[in-house]
């Protein structure tokens, strides 16, 4: 029972956690390979942080097992587990200098003074903070503080790095910068890493593998690309990126009827007359015909949003009722084709880009 031999570095088996009658995590099992960077992604309250804290031993699971390097650690207190952790709030000790914060974990492990100095120096240069060594946390910016927290967590060379929404408290620019820095650092050190986040962009740019969570369950896992292109539910499709949803009925093999237009798409899992919703990403809809068998949808421009590198145009189609259709047009294209409100344009999208979900 306490043995588990395969090549995964961290293994979670049938883990559940309840707070009173509320089930925060429901029977989750996952395997993480050594050196992998995985993200738990989901809206707030989905149980992702609870799962992370159970792996750290900071919460005690109601049921289930956790293995690290094939060793059962389910009942170990956090101090007997091997991990470093970084929190959204940084949790730097305010009365200790940057140096002492990073050295904090080393001192207890009976390191020699000069070894500590050397190790902290290494870490400081790793996170590019060498010149801030003697400052107090409150003298640093948020991004710098989080880098100190990262160095502190890595100081004892833990086998597992846990990141609990590490970038959520930072400004947009710093966030993008740190994303890359953390990712590079992780690759360089090869430390197995789990990050919790509610930001899909963060998860997509950083993770090798994403576990999408909802209501205490993992509803899909895969590489960022798999999750984006093969979302297995309308929830994930709309949570990760933007998505147009159109109600439809399967009319024929590979044909659906939306109000009074017929569109072609892959209906392999559905029977005739099934009610479905079809989903198309805004960037997959064109205003120029590219392929002879593209679907065509006549529509009118209702609203244009300028978003920098692209413009999001909202269309109304007389053939469809309900929501406006979002279309992303690269700004360079948009400048060439002059777009005006109430202009009538045909929209094109290929059969392959249409996903079909049950209602």
């Amino acid at each position: 029972m306490t043995e588990s031999s395969d090549d995964s570095y961290l293994k979670v088996k049938n883990l559940s956690k309840s707070f009173g009658s509320f089930e925060a995590i429901k029977n989750i099992s996952i395997n993480i390979k050594e050196g992998e960077f995985v993200c738990f992604l989901g809206p707030s309250g989905c149980g992702k942080t609870t799962l992370l804290r159970c792996i750290a031993g900071l919460e005690i699971q109601s049921a289930g097992l956790v293995f690290q390097k094939n060793k059962d650690i389910s009942n170990l207190p956090p101090s007997n587990r091997d991990f470093g952790i970084v929190f959204q709030s940084y949790a730097l000790f305010p009365n200790l200098s940057v140096f002492s914060n990073i050295a904090y974990g080393l001192i207890n492990n009976k390191w020699k003074r000069e070894d500590i100095k050397k190790r902290v120096g290494e870490l400081l240069s790793l996170v590019n903070l060498t010149e801030h060594s003697s400052k107090y946390p409150s003298q640093l910016s948020g991004g710098e503080q989080q880098r100190v927290a990262l160095a502190r967590a890595l100081a004892t060379s833990p086998g597992l790095l846990l990141l609990d929404e590490p970038l959520s408290a930072l400004d947009a620019k710093v966030r993008v910068f740190l994303r890359k820095q953390i990712r590079d650092l992780q690759r360089k050190l090869g430390v197995t890493t789990i990050m919790v986040t509610h930001d899909q962009e963060e998860a997509q740019t950083m993770a090798d593998r994403i576990f999408v969570m909802k209501d205490g369950e993992i509803i899909q896992s895969g590489t960022p690309n798999e999750i984006y292109t093969k979302a297995n539910s309308p929830f994930i499709a709309s949570f990760i990126g933007s998505m147009n949803f159109i109600p439809a009925v399967v009319s024929n093999s590979d044909k659906v009827q939306c109000n009074n237009v017929e569109l072609s798409c892959n209906t392999v899992n559905f029977k005739q007359n099934d009610s479905v919703q079809i989903a198309i990403r805004p960037e997959d809809i064109q205003i120029k015909k590219e392929n002879p068998d593209d679907n065509i949808l006549p529509a009118t421009i209702k609203e244009i949003e300028f978003l920098g590198s692209f413009q999001r145009v909202y269309f109304e189609s007389k053939n469809l009722t309900g929501d406006l259709i979002m279309v992303d047009i690269p700004s360079s294209n948009a400048r060439k084709t002059k777009l005006n409100i109430n202009q009538e344009i045909d929209l094109y999208f290929s059969k392959e880009d249409v996903r079909v979900y049950p209602v």
Partner: protein, 569 residues
């Protein structure tokens, strides 16, 4: 497989867990010994006859049939409610002036208003005797009414409870969102309507809380009615008379229960309203900054000046009375009133008080801070932590007099192995710590709540035991509130009467108690001198505290000041 998983989810323990658990168990035992069991002894005493046989509610029946005793309940309620109304109105206006107007000299007024905190409650009563007593300067102002009675009790109670009310109300009034007032102004709301629709509702819970705190303080106070109550009996003086005068412990216990119940009810309403108060201000609120308004500012200045003058006149008169030869016939100055030998007392009681205050401050601060840390930051043993939290809040609901009496019943019992602490300094220290536990505990909890809740998690992940982190991070960061707690305990230990009146012995007489006895013997000038001694020490300690906070803390709290330094760069 799944079946197996559900079995045996039991977390192994590390050294932090074991230390924490041991400490929690110790706290539970201490609270049982020094709070719960004594109160149990009090309750059981109220259900016994003189021979110690159980007689049910017979004593209570007797109490209800005794009109004189019943009259005291009415008197207690009357003075408590009257004082509460007066204090709440005065303190509200005063704190409104401090927080919501541009009145000049705010710092000065704040300082003056806090003076009564440094003196025992009886000092006010003694000062009133000099002002309005039989030979008082302003006796005629009472239009033939005597100061010895409800008038004196209410006046003295208003004086000494005023700063307590002021502190709560100032906090509550300063927690206001200026955006609300801006919104009201944009919507063309009149100032008066804004006051009744924003200010008052915003301070509502603060006002309720103040009312119940003041009510409890006056309702359970012993010193003031003892000195200036005359023949006007209240519950607190009744307990004293039954116990000390008539040795009727059973009736003393019954009256204690009568005193305890309203205090308990007031306590729970207060707790409830404080919880509500917190949720009113969010992190997005913008703190209110008052604007100049000449007329309002001047009216408030006049009002605050008047109150400040009264406070100065009160303490000034007590000091004056202590240093004149023979009031009101020989007004030459002398120090002979500070020679307590003549009254058969000496300075021992004063030194005892200082010792008591030191021990209480040192041990009390350690015990209370560590206790609040266990409750606030440990992750294990939820049940035990909740129990300790409940115990920590209980003392607030127990009047000092009741706690003192409970200690007699419990520790004076022959078969109690802890009997040896009876009539020693130890019992006084323990009683004082327990009596003032709750307020200090809440201060510590507030400070701990402001610390990042993940410090402990980080420490555990770095394999540092929590007690090491407590020493290296928590304690240094929390030094300012820890100093506040120790000062609070020190000053209260110096000034308290009701907690210790039953517990001192021949070797451990205390200054505040001696002042009461001197007054009883007609030595009013010596009583004033003794009360003033307490004030001197309190002031000296306060000043030292201020210097320490400014100078010494600057070293240990360098990181705090650096925040300001860098922001100025």
């Amino acid at each position: 497989m799944n079946f197996f998983n559900f079995a045996n989810i039991r977390r192994g323990k590390d050294s932090s867990d074991r230390v924490g658990q041991f400490m929690l168990v110790s706290y539970i035992i201490l609270f049982l010994l020094f709070l719960v069991l004594p109160l149990g002894a009090l309750i059981s005493k109220s259900l016994e006859n003189k021979d110690g046989d159980f007689i049910g509610l017979a004593n209570y029946n007797l109490y209800l049939q005794e009109p004189a005793l019943f009259q005291s309940l009415y008197n207690s309620l009357f003075v408590a409610i009257s004082s509460t109304i007066i204090v709440v109105v005065l303190a509200f206006l005063f704190s409104y002036a401090l927080t919501r107007t541009c009145m000049p000299f705010k710092g000065f007024f704040k300082l003056i208003a806090l003076i009564p905190l440094l003196s025992p409650s009886i000092l006010a009563a003694i000062a009133l005797v000099y002002w309005f007593g039989n030979q008082g300067v302003l006796k005629e102002m009472l239009l033939g009414k005597s100061i010895y009675g409800p008038i004196g009790i209410i006046m003295a109670s208003v004086y000494w409870t005023f700063p307590h009310a002021l502190i709560i109300l100032t906090t509550s009034l300063s927690l206001s969102d200026s955006r609300l007032y801006e919104a009201a102004e944009v919507l063309k709301t009149s100032k008066l309507r804004a006051f009744f629709t924003i200010t008052i509702p915003g301070a509502r819970y603060g006002i309720i809380s103040t009312a119940f705190v003041i009510f409890t303080q006056v309702f359970t106070d012993f010193g003031v009615p003892k000195v200036i109550g005359g023949n006007y009996n209240v519950l607190a003086t009744d307990i004293y008379k039954e116990v000390v005068g008539m040795q009727n412990f059973q009736m003393g216990a019954v009256i204690s229960m009568v005193l305890l119940v309203p205090a308990m009810i007031a306590f729970f309403i207060d707790r409830y309203s404080r919880k509500k108060q917190i949720s009113l201000l969010t992190s997005r609120s913008v703190v209110f900054k008052p604007k100049k308004h000449f007329k309002v500012d001047m009216i408030m200045l006049a009002f605050c000046s008047l109150l400040a003058l009264i406070i100065i006149l009160m303490i000034g008169m007590a000091q004056y009375g202590a240093i004149v030869k023979f009031w009101p016939y020989n007004l030459n100055f002398t120090l002979k009133n500070y020679n307590f030998e003549v009254a058969g007392l000496g300075w021992d009681s004063f030194y005892n008080s200082v010792r008591l205050a030191f021990y209480t401050a040192i041990f009390g601060t350690i015990i209370i801070f560590v206790g609040s840390y266990l409750i606030e930051k440990l992750r294990i043993n939820d049940g035990m932590r909740n129990l300790v939290q409940f115990f920590a809040l209980m003392p607030m609901a127990v009047p000092g007099l009741v706690l003192g009496l409970a200690y007699i019943f419990f520790f004076n019992a022959k078969d109690n192995p802890l009997n040896f602490i009876y009539a020693t300094m130890i019992i006084l220290v323990v009683n004082t710590i327990v009596h003032f536990y709750t307020v200090s505990h809440l201060t510590a909890v507030t400070a701990l709540k402001q610390m990042d809740k993940e410090f402990e998690s980080v420490s555990l992940s770095l394999k540092i035991p929590i007690y090491k982190m407590f020493w290296r991070v928590t304690l240094p960061v929390c030094l300012p509130p820890i100093f506040d707690i120790s000062i609070y305990l020190f000053v209260n230990a110096m000034t308290t009467v009701s907690g210790v009146i039953f517990l001192y012995s021949y070797d451990t007489t205390l200054a505040s108690v001696s002042a009461i006895h001197l007054d009883e013997q007609g030595e009013v000038a010596k009583a004033a001198a003794m009360a003033m001694l307490i004030v001197y020490v309190s002031v000296a300690v306060r000043l030292t505290h201020t210097i320490i906070t400014k100078k010494v803390l600057r070293k240990t709290q360098a990181w705090r000041y650096n925040i300001i330094d860098t922001k100025l760069d």
